[in-house]
Amino acid sequence: MKKLFFLLAIIILVVLELNWPAFLDFFYCKPDLLLIFTVALVFYTDFKTALLFGILAGLAKDVFLPWTLAINTICFSIWSYSVYRLNSQISIEEVYARWTIVLVAALLNNFIIGLYSVASGNIIPLGIFSRNLIIISVYTMALSPLIFKLTKRIAL
């Protein structure tokens, strides 16, 4: 039953990201709700479930992107594993620590996607690259408490 709700949450978050209103964009940047969900799953469920739904979330995002490589699927599974390893080595019970982890994951995720985009031949000015990297990550972190609450409610 819980797994069904996780799937439903992914569908809702994808729909929300696809229809994210322009007036909620911050300097043409929108938050990565699915990344927060992927990280939150590691904190509130077992590793296998978190990894499975992390991959599904990445896939759901990649399906709607105009790229051929499923970069989000790869990245999300890496973040699931990394956060799980980190969680097993040090205690991440503090809310601020969790927010920081989301921020770091978002920064790395955006950096990789940005580099991939540049490597694909796209010309992204340095200013735009930095703007996307920083604002998306901070915006993602700022919205993380909401998604954490949603994930916790489903998981517990």
Partner: protein, 257 residues
């Protein structure tokens, strides 16, 4: 012959004079008398209103609640009708454009946007069933929107012109100066590889050139809003504000070659 008594006649004349006198004075009296009585009348009116309000409190409360419901439902209907009217205006605009345009066009509605900020694309509700294929140009009455990059059965993905993956061969309409327009993930596009002596000024209109293999010639891209020198110092660049409102686009037209 009929004869009026003298006394009656005098009384009648006196009465008529009195009426005439009062009538003349009445207009002079009206204003001061009403001024004097105004506070009292207002007070009495207020007391009466309040008393009636207390007496008929329950009835008024029910009536107010019913009217509030009516207002709420009418407000929603008004909101819906405004939305329908706006949609109607947009469709009318699109239809007029489609009628006038010499191109073969398929109208489509935007149903989703790119879920991240590293690409600029939209998903439309028409796909290969409607004859849409990758590479087709997508426009709107205001100007060029992008091109189809992926076509499924009933949906297609449109790469917008402000995506960095876009490279559109274009010209300045006034001077026919050629350049390559790229997206930059922002509200403006960049026209690159402009030589020093390029004939381009702020406000110039940029259109697609005939060198473009994807886009039909002469489609409006936007206007020049700024001109600068590239970091290498070899060329100049121009910032172009797209004619189409890419952030809020809702309906588009796919050009069938």
């Amino acid at each position: 012959m009929f004869k009026l008594p003298r006394k009656t006649l005098i009384n009648f004349i006196l009465l008529a004079c009195a009426i005439l006198l009062v009538s003349n004075f009445l207009s002079c009296l009206k204003n001061p008398v009403q001024k004097i009585f105004k506070p009292q009348l207002s007070f009495i009116g207020m007391v009466k209103r309040e008393a009636l309000g207390i007496i008929f409190y329950h009835r008024n409360m029910i009536q107010a609640a019913r009217l509030q419901n009516d207002i709420d439902s009418l407000r929603w209907r008004l909101f819906d009708l405004r939305e329908v009217a706006q949609e109607n205006a947009r469709f009318k605009n699109l239809f007029n454009f489609k009628q006038k345009s010499p191109l073969r066009l398929v109208a489509a509605r935007v149903i989703g946007r790119a879920p991240d900020s590293w690409s600029s694309s939209v998903i439309i509700d028409k796909g290969s069933y409607n004859g849409i294929k990758p590479g087709m140009a997508v426009i709107c009455p205001q100007g060029l929107v992008g091109r189809i990059v992926e076509s499924l059965d009933s949906t297609s993905k449109v790469l917008l012109i402000n995506d960095p993956n876009q490279g559109i061969s274009s010209i300045v309409q006034r001077s026919r100066q050629e350049g390559l327009v790229n997206g930059a993930l922002s509200s403006n596009l960049i026209m690159r590889y402009l030589p020093d002596e390029a004939q381009i000024i702020i406000g110039d209109v940029i259109i697609t050139s005939e060198l473009s293999q994807i886009y039909p010639k002469g489609l409006l891209l936007g206007r020049v809003v700024n001109i600068g020198r590239e970091f290498s110092g070899l060329n100049r660049y121009a910032l172009i504000k797209p004619a189409a409102d890419l952030a809020n686009i809702e309906e588009v037209l796919v050009v069938i070659p």
